[in-house]
Amino acid sequence: MSHFYTDVDHFALLPAILLALFGCAVFLFDFLLGERSRRWQLALVLPGLALTGWQLARQGEIAPFTAFHGALTIDAFGLFFNWLFLLTAGLVALLSYRYLEVEQEHQGEYYGLVLMAQAGAYFLAVGTELITIFVGLETMSISFYVLAGFLRRSRRSNEAALKYLLLGAFSSGILAYGFSILYGLAGSTYFADIAAAVGARPAFDPLTVLAILTVSAGVLFKIAAAPFHMWAPDVYEGAPTAVTAYLAVGSKIASVALLLRLFLGPLGTARAAWEPLLLVAAVVSLTVGNLAALTQTNVKRLLAYSSIAHAGYLLLGVVAGNATGLRGVAIYAGAYVFMTLGAFAVLLGVHGEELGDLNGLARRQPAVAAAMVVFLVSLAGLPPTAGFVGKYYVFLALIEAGRYVLALVGAVYVAVALFYYFRVVRCMFLEPAAEGVARVGLSAGVRVALGVTGVLTLGAGVYPEPLLQWAVRAVLK
């Protein structure tokens, strides 16, 4: 191989290549075989993910390295997030199987797009160069725009896709504007050069501040943090439920990875300039997300607002600015994957999204209802669940940093959040079922997804040590 593309480069790129290959294979099979292929698509997606996992595992065996002159950095941080993406994509694929049939939009492109989105996300976690990150982000985003509009017959799906695209493209534009300033600042798009250039400038240098303002606007939009959150409730509500699950989890944690890479990497030395911004965004997100969620009657919308609040907690971990905080962000991200996917799996299992659809669920499907309680308790952050461990670390980090007031604010919102999460519990357990609601059988995919997320959510709460050990290694130096 040439010096443009070495073995190391290839090794670094391999997971993305596999994802892209299997994605293309799905497109191709669907195109060639049409209807007949549809039953087998899952059989193509899961091995693709398994092979990707194998490559990730191989990458994890060796010391961190960079490839393509520093455009990609394969380190524990990137691998941690990629494992989360892998888990997310796998569970979403399982969840989608029956759902698409029910919605009569069972098309092969779907699974291809799921894999392509993951391939884009791969570069958000390991990319350390602006163009790579930008193109990766757009690959992921465009896949999500299409997925959000996948139910072509449904106006709600159309509109969700449209809103997501308009605002998403806008935010990408702002982010790209920020990137252009970073390039102007350093004359290079590689993180190492930018970090050196930013470090050489004085604190609150106008050019750095400009870059930070625009970059944070773009990134906050992507993680659905206030005040750039307004798209999330509409898109979450309108998109097909399986896609919402992917969007809420995959897109959010990929953007969190992007945020950490950018703000702790090239912008790390300008901490004084961006920390107040993120702090305000965190507190506003907590407030807006939690208060707006109080009055929602659509569970998808409720989860959208709660995910805005979760973005606030994640930002608090970054704001704390110590190793514990970053560990907390990683743990929180992991917990967020388990519990949010679980909650959406329940919604898919009961084929409903309004609070009323859950009435009497405890009678119809006690196991599903019990699992939902675990997810909701975890989302709220009570022990013994994964969500508690994440919040615990965030609070600990804030206290270590001496920010007691922030810790207290975060804690008080836990109580607020419990109120709306337990409205869901109340519907499932305390309200009688509406007349004529039949017990819906769960597809095998939903069963597996519920089992995996339930065990992980509860397991990581009762015995969090493995998750903690894993997350410790994933902290960006």
Binding site: L382, I399, R426, E465, Q469
Partner: protein, 491 residues
Amino acid sequence: MPWLTALLALPLVGFVVLLAIPGRATGAVRLWANAVLLGGLALAAPLWTAFDRSAGGYQFVERMPWIPSLGAQYLVGIDGISLLLVLLTALLGPVAALASWNAIAERVKEFYAMLLLLQFGMLGLFLSLDILLFFVFFELVLVPMYFLIGIWGGERRLYAAMKFFLYTVAGSVVLLVGIVALYWQGGQQLGRATFELTELLRAQLPVETQRWLFWAFFLGFAIKVPMVPFHTWLPDAHTEAPTAGSVLLAGVLLKMGTYGFVRLSLPLFPDAAREAAPVLAVLSIAAILYGALICLAQQDWKRLVAYSSVSHMGFCTLGLAAMNANGLAGSVLQQVNHGISTSLLFLLVGYVYERRHTRQIADFGGLAMVMPRFAFVFAVAVFSSAGLPLLNGFIGEFTILQGAFVVNRAWAAAAVGGIVLGAAYLLWLYQRTMLGDLRNEANRELPDLTAREWATVLPLLGLAVAIGVYPQPWFAVLERPVLELAGRLGR
């Protein structure tokens, strides 16, 4: 033998096995749950004799690594204080289960599952010597109790369940921040991060830090007790809960708050606690008097009993505020006493409600004529609750008053007023329900206590008398831990 772990694991194992029993086999479910809880009592009872009263520190300690990265362990053990509360829990668990035998006809399996989970959480809280573990159990009891009230409660159950839940959670999140801060500050002091209680007790926290932490912990525990002005969740929750829920709520859950003070707040932050003692005392006296006065105005039998808890828990916190050996010992014993007498009262209200489906005091009167045995038991319960000599309540309240008197005579005087008021509303309740003529014809055919009901009240009656007549063994268990604590507090 890992005695405490076995005791703790039993309800959890019982819970898991119960899930495997088909929900339609209600008989099997009932039998199993009662057997498990009785088994727990059988496991706990020998602790009373095996406990070494002359040894200091914690006994039956078991430790296992849990979250090494955080310095949290699975660490259980008991001293005299937790011994009494563990025994109380182990006793009230089966009592509550047995009392629900007929009362719960709907969703039986879920009910007993929640009961077992609750028992697990309650025992775990009193056993844990690791603060994170303590907090996990502190929160764990909330969910089953929410369901107990919300599913099997009275008419306003949804409201009451949510109110209970949100109040306690609001307190406990602040407690959590306090725990995290203590962990961090203590870790700085000790040079290593740990949640182990005995380790953290060695940290010398500056008074300023102690103050912040004390009030953070205070909020969590004061809501749980509940102290005035955080008590407003209690009447709703107690009144709407099913009998078993009320028994466990009043009998055990409230003690989590006072136990939190004794186990954590006072020993960990002695300087701040001493400063805060007058505030605690004033709030306690307010609770004693306010609770009693409200009781005088109650029309609802069960609500009256609920409000009496506010008043009686005021005595427990007053004993804590005294912070001397008498006050502390009296407080712990009074926690047990309150667990016994209030549980009795709730059981009896529940039995009447099962027969008549009303709780209005005005609907009753002269029940002593149709239900003489019931009236006898009720009399003992009322006397015990009112603190009449030769019964348990007297011993507890008297010791607390002794403790409070040494510190501040005004406190003791005000509390005596509370005892008088307590006697007044309880005896008046007794007179209105049991004595006089049988005014309401619907009450004429009421059956007296059944054998099963006797089985639930007899152990409590026996204990009430036993403690009242011969309190020495109970104080003997408490002596060492209480003296140690009073020493830490410098009193």
